[in-house]
Symmetry: C2
Subunit: 310 residues, 2 copies
DNA sequence: TCAATCATGCACCTATTCTGCACGGTTATC
DNA sequence: GATAACCGTGCAGAATAGGTGCATGATTGA
């Protein structure tokens, strides 16, 4: 209900180029360019300046964008309160999340919502946490399930979002089936310190998590291989290349020659999974309902997997 | 920058029918109908209900409209702050006011703005105070000059507006040139209590002012004639039909056989002339400048007229 | 019963707005 | 210093949202 061009400006403020803004919002670059030009004309403000081969927000532009944060939060809040007060039904609902969340949490949520609200048009987008925040700003999605992270761009207390902890997803260790410890049910990181480890590329969210887990117990793992997808991690382990960490939410899918062990000891690494919404919108009945469903599903999946795999 | 359909809804909330909303916003009735229908679809809320041959806001609708007041005030405030911070120029500026204000205050203001801001598109609309408030809500105008009044629909402290007193326009008395008191420069209301009075129709803003002036001194005037325009008042007086009150801002235009006297005594009736803007927008540089110009002009006109007529 | 008032649907049209492509300017790379 | 990559913008054409005007049905008051 806030003018679409203002939303576009906010997205631009986030990513800095017309092209990226176009990609995020779903417009073409020309459309974004035209929208921002039109916005400046209507408001009578110069919001952008040429900067090399790109554009840069002017002081006025930054000021305006900063000011829209509470404005949008207030609209979301109003909208949510009206929905609640009037017992109304939403027509569209966008969800976002990273791969294991999308599979384990968002898919059941979407299915549940689809059956309880037949008229509701539910859309799920798989995207990594940073992009989820972008999509929330761009109003492409209304709720995101992500791994908590304090990135350089989005902090935990960003005024544009509200976050609710869904669960702390413990990291298990996965080792080859023929490993000496394979018959055990638990292990400590110290026991595995000398193993060749599989992790993700430096700089990724998971890599940060990985190193944090080991610094907590004061050992330095030997990093042997890198993988992006959990599937690849598991395959590497199955091939005997090394051992790795795997969030309990990520399923083994009956992989050959791979055993999942709980981590015990003083360091029990977890990744915190949170739901994020635009600030103000959290009171919306649909979002409240979704958070409830997510919570239930998260708990159930967690305990189930505990029984299956260990 | 708030969606036009929300503005339309606000106007509807004010006036209650599609037709009146269309007239105020400048759309056609079908367009208003379509806009409101679309708004309900997008928000997924039922905002209106059939009520006889008309429409009525639902509870949700009223809730939503009430909630938009602070939202719009915040946007106006943000916009004003950005304009101020960035030293930017507005492209359109709408003014509204009742007839004598339009002639005496708004016309010079528009002229000044036109010369100091050549690129600014200034539009002046003559409208009575109540309609000026409506036009402010409909965002057809940005600043209104009106006679202060506490109507049943708009109070002094309406959360949608901010008001600044420009001047207290004293009411003079006008009497025929051949009246016994015509050679005097001042008169009291008591002296003229027994005269046949000319006033406006009951229910009008001016009539309220008129009776208030006399109740303040405890006399009941004999109402002989009614007139709407000041021109007509003056003509009636000139024709010897009676005496009347005339704000000092309203010019005699060299009418024949009419004399203007200052009112003295314990009751010095005035009408308070105020400038009204949408809440939040008062910090806008253009509005600040306009208020300054209005103030200067008001004072000058007031003192000038004092010298000319008395 | 008739007229007035009001909202709405429909056909048509206008004007906004988006797309796709080509172009000019800027930066990085070799 | 040439070349390639990247970025924003302008333009023609197309799609579409959104507007108007009129006819219609429903409701109320005379």
């Amino acid at each position: 209900m806030i003018d679409a061009r203002l939303i576009t400006l906010r997205v631009f403020a986030r990513c800095g180029t017309i092209g990226a803004t176009a990609e995020l919002t779903g417009y073409s670059p020309s459309a974004v360019s035209a929208q921002l030009r039109e916005l400046q004309r209507v408001l009578g403000m110069q919001l952008l300046t040429k900067d090399g081969r790109g554009l840069r927000l002017t002081a006025t532009g930054r000021f305006l964008v900063a000011g829209t944060d509470p404005l949008i939060a207030q609209w979301e809040s109003l909208r949510a309160a009206a929905m609640e007060a009037g017992d109304q039904v939403q027509s569209h609902f966008g969800l976002g999340g990273f791969s294991s969340a999308a599979a384990q949490l968002l898919a059941p949520l979407a299915a549940t919502l689809r059956s309880t609200h037949p008229l509701l048009e539910v859309q799920v987008l798989e995207a990594d946490p940073a992009r989820c925040f972008d999509l929330l700003i761009a109003e492409r999605i209304d709720l995101a399930v992500i791994v908590a992270m304090q990135s350089d761009t989005y902090g935990e207390d960003d005024p544009r979002f509200e976050q609710r902890v869904l669960l702390d997803d413990p990291l298990d260790v996965i080792i080859p089936g023929d490993h000496p410890l394979a018959s055990r049910q638990t292990a400590t990181l110290e026991e595995l310190a000398s193993e060749p480890w599989i992790t993700a590329a430096a700089g990724s969210t998971y890599h940060t998590l990985f190193t944090a887990a080991f610094t907590a117990v004061g050992v330095t793992p030997r990093i042997a291989h890198e993988a992006v997808e959990w599937e690849t991690h598991i395959a590497f382990v199955g091939a005997g290349l090394g051992v790795g960490l795997l969030p309990r939410l990520a399923p083994l899918n009956g992989a050959e020659n791979v055993v999942r062990l709980r981590i015990t000891g003083k360091a029990k690494p977890t990744r915190r999974i949170v739901a994020a919404v635009r600030r103000g919108s959290i009171a919306s009945p649909l979002i409240q309902e979704s958070l409830g469903i997510l919570q239930v599903n998260a708990n159930r999946i967690l305990t189930n997997r505990l029984g299956e795999d260990l």
